[in-house]
């Protein structure tokens, strides 16, 4: 395949690379670097690596730092942690007030508990709706499968914000559901649904359902049917076979799906803000208000650190299951 032939793009890039290699400082630099023991792979990997270190890891350290700073009325609104007392002495002021504040004020731990329970209940509902969907898609005729899968993914590609918005029109007092119920004479007064916990659960389940279905589908699709047939031959009832065979074998998909729903749902801001009531205490919303309305960056940082602390175990479980799924292909 000399030069790549009729395929335009690889050919051009190949030529370009050859040119750069023959001329210019690239050659010198590569010789210099390989002499010092750096391979091309190392250099290429270093780019995203440094990017993630700088823009993903370092920010958390800064959040940690600001969460132990004191608030002040200036921009940026926090006191520096280190101060030069004299030429050689650095003063360090660590302030745990913010964390003590989170413990003292019941608003914070109540919203933490509320977020976790809301996310957990939504995850279970997603699993109950998503599992039969994933199972049904995997058991559909081969020609249909890709179309159905595309239909699951399509809402994920359209705006999250607008999909939450769609529910406002359905749930509000003069919305679709109430109009239908009143036209049928089932209720006289509109049922208040918008800005309740009910609306919030609907919003979370609706928005995160595709995240549940996709990993479940991947797991169910790989399932060996002969196992279920053997169980049926040996007289195992379908329900029992489902719990003894299907569920354990699709465990990786269940875990991945549940974590993909649970973790972001704990910190959800948009759904509680648009669909939940004023008393819907979700920690993502509390952080948002602490930051944007109260301009208290240190307390917002402390909330973020505690949230991260709560989510570290679920995130690690997710990463393990993700690694297993990717590893299983090979």
């Amino acid at each position: 395949m000399q030069g790549g032939g009729p395929r335009g793009k690889p050919f051009l890039l190949g030529e370009l690379l050859a040119w750069i290699r023959a001329h210019g400082p690239w050659r010198w630099a590569s010789a210099e670097l390989s002499a010092r023991g750096y391979s091309g792979r190392t250099l290429v990997t270093a780019v995203p690596y440094l990017w993630l270190l700088l823009f993903f890891l370092v920010p958390f350290l800064i959040v940690l730092k600001i969460s132990v700073s004191e608030i002040r009325l200036a921009m940026p609104p926090y006191e520096p942690l280190f101060t030069w007392i004299s030429d050689n002495v650095v003063g360090l002021r660590i302030n745990f007030e913010n964390y003590a504040f989170l413990l003292k004020d019941s608003l914070y731990w109540k919203s933490f508990l509320n977020s976790i329970s809301t996310a957990a209940i939504s995850t279970v509902i997603c699993l109950l709706i998503g599992y039969p969907m994933a199972y049904g898609i995997a058991r559909s005729p081969a020609g249909w499968r890709n179309l159905l899968l595309l239909l699951v993914m399509l809402p994920f590609w359209t705006s999250f914000l607008l999909r939450v918005y769609a529910w406002i029109g359905i749930l509000k007092n003069n919305g679709v559901i109430n109009n239908v119920l009143m036209a049928l004479g089932i209720v006289d007064e509109p049922i208040v649904m918008l800005q309740t916990n009910f609306a919030m659960y609907i919003g979370i389940v609706y928005s995160y359902l595709p995240f549940m279905v996709l990993p479940l589908y991947t797991a169910v699709e790989k399932l060996d049917n002969s196992l279920l047939e053997a169980a049926a031959d040996l007289g195992c009832r379908p329900v029992k076979a489902f719990f003894r065979i299907t569920v354990p074998l699709t465990k990786a998909g269940i875990i991945a799906g549940c974590m993909l729903v649970f973790i972001p749902a704990v910190g959800e801001f948009v759904i509680p803000a648009l669909l939940g009531g004023p008393d819907a205490l979700m920690i993502g919303r509390v952080l948002w208000e602490e930051f944007f309305n109260n301009r208290d960056w240190p307390v917002a940082s402390a909330v973020a650190i505690v949230m991260l602390f709560v989510l570290v175990i679920p995130i690690m479980i997710y990463q393990r299951s993700q690694g297993q799924q990717l590893g299983a292909h090979r």
Binding site: P48, W51, Y135, L161, F269, L274
Partner: protein, 278 residues
């Protein structure tokens, strides 16, 4: 194995749940009445109103620019990361890179947004860059979380691929960069394109992270929509939503068809190559 009736009913119900709200939203965008959900006759006037709304059009253009820049940057970074994780074997720092590359997928947006803003503020204090907040900071923030998605897409595609073609090229003396551009990249091109589109839509859609890292004068489309929504439902948002949904649906469908064709052609090529060798 056949599907049971229960599974079929649940599946259909699930799809209705996913699509009914979107269908209703589209229907009501053609509603004459300002009340949105009370039918007042067919009309396209909200579309006309939308086209004259300077604020929405400006925000849409800004969002488009940021999304395109973000998608290109995130695709480059994500493809390298995916390649490193799938092909470079065990190297020093691999576990950390795996963690860093997958954590943004599930990290609650409020945390990512807050931490990036604090980084930008601290950087500005220390080195004077980035100056203020706006398009640059939004693009960097978007690239950071959307490259994780590209990484997963590229890595899982590479994991299903046989390494023998790449190994053969190496054996024949091709240098690693040449192997990538001539062999690996053409094969995983559909995955790279999927990653680009995914990164584009993630950025186009993002409200929470953008709200943290944006500055005065750079309101993206979701920021504008969100502030309109807080004032209540309005028919022109329905019209906007309809346009967006239809555009995305068309693109996704076309891309899905293209990707399947591409896949079939590659499989066929592979089979032929194996057949001629035997």
């Amino acid at each position: 194995m056949k599907r049971s009736r229960f599974v079929t009913v649940m599946m259909v119900a699930g799809f209705l749940f996913l699509y009914l709200p979107i269908v209703l939203m589209i229907v009501f965008s053609f509603n004459e009445s300002r009340l949105v959900t009370v039918w007042g006759g067919f009309s396209t006037k909200w579309y006309g109103e939308l086209m004259r709304n300077e604020q929405v059009l400006g925000a849409a253009w800004l969002s488009f620019k940021i999304a395109a820049m973000n998608a290109t940057g995130a695709t480059i970074l994500g493809t390298i990361t995916g390649l490193a994780l799938a092909r470079f074997g065990r190297f020093r720092g691999r576990p950390l890179l795996t963690g860093l590359a997958t954590a943004p997928l599930v990290m609650p947006e409020v945390i990512t947004g807050l931490s990036l803003l604090l980084l930008f503020v601290a950087m500005e204090q220390l080195i004077g860059w980035p100056e203020g907040r706006g398009v640059t900071t939004i693009t960097i923030a978007h690239m950071t979380f959307s490259m994780a998605y590209v990484t997963v897409v590229v890595q899982s595609r590479l994991a299903t691929l046989d390494e023998s073609l790449e190994e053969a090229a190496m054996d024949l003396g091709a240098r690693p960069a040449k192997v990538f551009f001539l062999i690996t990249m053409p094969i995983i091109l559909p995955a790279i394109c999927a990653g680009w589109l995914l990164a584009f839509t993630l950025s186009w859609d993002d409200l929470v992270i953008t709200s943290f890292v944006t500055g005065p004068g750079s309101s993206t489309l979701p920021v504008v929509i969100f502030s309109k929504m807080r004032l209540g439902v309005s028919p022109d948002i329905n019209a906007l939503a309809t346009i967006l949904v239809l555009v995305v649906a068309t693109f996704t469908a076309l891309f899905g068809i293209w990707m399947q064709r591409q896949q079939k052609r590659r499989d066929l090529d592979m089979q032929r190559a194996i057949a001629t060798n035997e």
